[in-house]
Symmetry: C2
Subunit: 369 residues, 2 copies
């Protein structure tokens, strides 16, 4: 078992297991609670059934305080791959996940849960390289510069050197880390064009259709699943108001402003705000053009309010982190602005993993040649 | 003494007084700390000198966790009017405050501290009426509907009925509440026009130049000043991204969108965001046109970072409320987005007063005919 699995103290683990069994049987109305409690007392831990795993994964989504997209939590598809522990098989199933979740653009929220010893070292399945240049600048996504360095250390030769080179996957299994190149047909991308300003299209921007988070541990009933990549669809602000625009990411607002011919001598001209708006227009337009599902910050926040209503009706409290739920564009025009949320975390849930390259990992050979 | 003065427990009051004296003498380098401590032990409370009051008011601003405009805290002008306790005099000094603070557009952050028994029942000196209509709608500013009702109850006949009627002031002094009309030359207003879209100008929007908060208690060294109205200059988002646009305020984004000819069938067209942007442009443009100082959300957030740097250099911790400091427009493009702040309150500071009409006030006659 990799060293970074949190070592639940046994009493705590059993308490979580009991709580989860209670939740599962109460919410689903399934019989058999007594039997499962007996199993737990016998084994000291839970071996989840596929139904329990699926339920637990959905509730983990429902409990994600930082996620504004929780309304369809019950629709999560869960691939129970806990028997899969070998690199090639993991990779094959990741390709199946990517294609199935894309679903021709009608994206399906999907999770694949792999077996013991598996871990994906990339934080998302699809990430663009960040190549450090001698002058200190980065070609590509600066946020991924450390990941890019790490993959090169593992033997990756590097890609063509564009700002949008998809990184290979570093899959850990059976005590070894191996690299896998993602084929182009598994990483659907969208060319970014603006509906009326061709110069924005000429910037050559693109983004991938699927956000698949692959570095969070799924925690259900005292059990931890380190390799449980999951995806929804994008919210356009994630791409257009953060990834492409943050100064420590692609930092593209100056280029967009130039394409729009804005006066950028002073921010008081609100050129930043205007470039931001047009880039958000462009991302929504381009995903819509290609028939790839994407949320907008107005619809998703109203849907979140609906989620709150449904949860209240079900007698459940919604936890939330206001600073994450609010979109980074016109937040006061959304129905979440005036709300307050209780941000305490409850289980089942997802927890962050430290990057593989920051953790001493006894028993794992990082360099496989 | 009105019932709503917080009754500091005496020990706490002396502790605050001691702490304040220490702060004052340390920061200003003034001698005489021992003497002032002796005064405190003799009287059981502090009678602040004008210098101490001024220093305390400035530090109260410096400590305001919800204020993003704190960089010039040392420039606050303080009018020491603690000897002023009669209605007419209070009103006269409020007019002096309004004219002096406006300063022909080069607004001066100013505070006027009145004597015991004085309270201003309006939450800001300049507020627009909110007239409730039989159909449940409100003409003017819906946020001020309760205040408008209250003033009518006090005998106000009502104004001409435009959406921008300036309310009279309800001044409490010597146990009585009296109404005072603000003359037009004390309430400088700005007509809102857009630099390139005349239809926005034709909406007939306006806003007043000065935000003067008049319902917060100034707390210094265990002493409370209930009538201590203060002003800075506006940040354009306060007017253009909240007051004129919130659905429970003027709710003008649909009208602005119509003036711009936007497609408002779905919010996915980002018409809300575009109307918001153009209204912010219009407010900045109009204040600039009239030479009335106003901040923009980019400059003010960079200035706040500078304030943090200066405070760190002075060896002081900056407290802040992230959700208030962040502007409601393009917040992730400002340098405050990635920061976290400690939001615990320290004294000197300002505390909120409940509206006069919500509090039983023994000894105060609210209806003066
Ligand atoms: C279906 C469409 C979905 C939308 C539109 C959506 C939207 C979002 C957004 C905007 C964020 C904030 C991202 C950021 O600022 O970095 C977020 C975070 C998150 N979401 Fe969702 N989400 C969706 C599906 C899912 C699914 C399927 C899961 C899990 C099963 C999930 C779990 C989470 C978690 C755990 C976070 C926090 C991630 C972190 O801490 O970095 N979401 N979501
Ligand atoms: C000089 C220009 C100033 C600017 C640009 C500025 C900016 C702001 C802004 C944008 C807010 C948030 C308002 C809201 O969202 O309702 C705020 C709140 C606040 N400011 Fe300032 N401010 C200035 C001057 C002052 C002064 C002179 C004082 C006191 C001496 C002050 C004390 C406060 C306080 C106490 C709050 C919180 C008000 C509340 O709780 O409702 N500010 N300021």
């Amino acid at each position: 078992m990799p060293a970074s699995v949190p070592r639940h103290d046994q009493a705590q683990r059993e308490a979580e297991a009991l709580e989860f069994l209670h939740l599962y049987h109460t919410e689903t109305g399934q019989p058999g609670l007594r039997q499962r409690q007996a199993d737990l007392y016998r084994d000291g831990h839970l071996t989840l059934s596929t139904q329990e795993l699926t339920f637990g994964a959905r509730v983990a989504w429902r409990n994600s305080t930082r996620c504004v997209g929780r309304l369809p939590w019950q629709t999560l598809h869960v691939n129970d791959l806990r028997h899969v522990t070998a690199h090639d098989e993991v990779f094959t199933h990741l390709l199946v996940h990517l294609r199935g979740a894309l679903n021709g653009g009608r994206i399906l929220p999907t999770m694949s849960v792999f077996g013991p010893g598996v871990r994906i070292h990339n934080d998302q399945l699809i990430r663009y390289a960040g190549y450090r240049q001698p002058d200190g600048r980065v070609t590509g996504d600066p946020q991924n510069a450390a990941l890019t360095d790490y993959l090169r250390g593992l033997g990756w030769r590097g890609g063509p050197g564009t700002p949008f080179d998809v990184l290979p996957l570093a899959i850990e299994a059976q005590g070894q880390v191996r690299l896998f190149d993602l084929p182009a047909d598994a990483t659907c991308e969208v060319r970014i064009e603006h509906p009326t300003c061709p110069a924005i299209g000429e910037l050559g921007l693109r983004w991938h259709a699927l956000p698949v988070i692959s570095n969070m541990t799924l925690e259900i009933g005292g059990e931890s699943f380190q390799a449980a990549p999951f995806n929804g669809w994008y919210l356009q602000t994630e791409i257009a108001a953060r990834n492409l625009t943050d100064e420590h990411r692609y930092n593209l607002l100056p280029a967009v402003a130039a394409a729009l011919g804005l006066d950028t001598r002073t921010r008081r001209s609100l050129w930043v705000d205007r470039a931001l708006l047009e880039l958000n227009m462009a991302v929504l337009h381009s995903f819509d053009r290609d028939g790839i599902r994407i949320a907008d910050h107005h619809a998703v926040t109203w849907q979140f309010r609906h989620f709150e209503t449904l949860e209240a009706r079900a007698g459940r409290a919604v936890r939330g982190r206001w600073s994450w739920l609010l979109p980074p564009m016109a937040p006061a025009t959304t129905p979440l602005w005036d709300r307050t949320y209780d941000d305490r975390e409850v289980r089942p849930n997802f927890t962050a993993q430290p990057p593989a390259w920051q953790v001493a990992r006894p028993g794992v050979c990082p360099f496989h040649h």
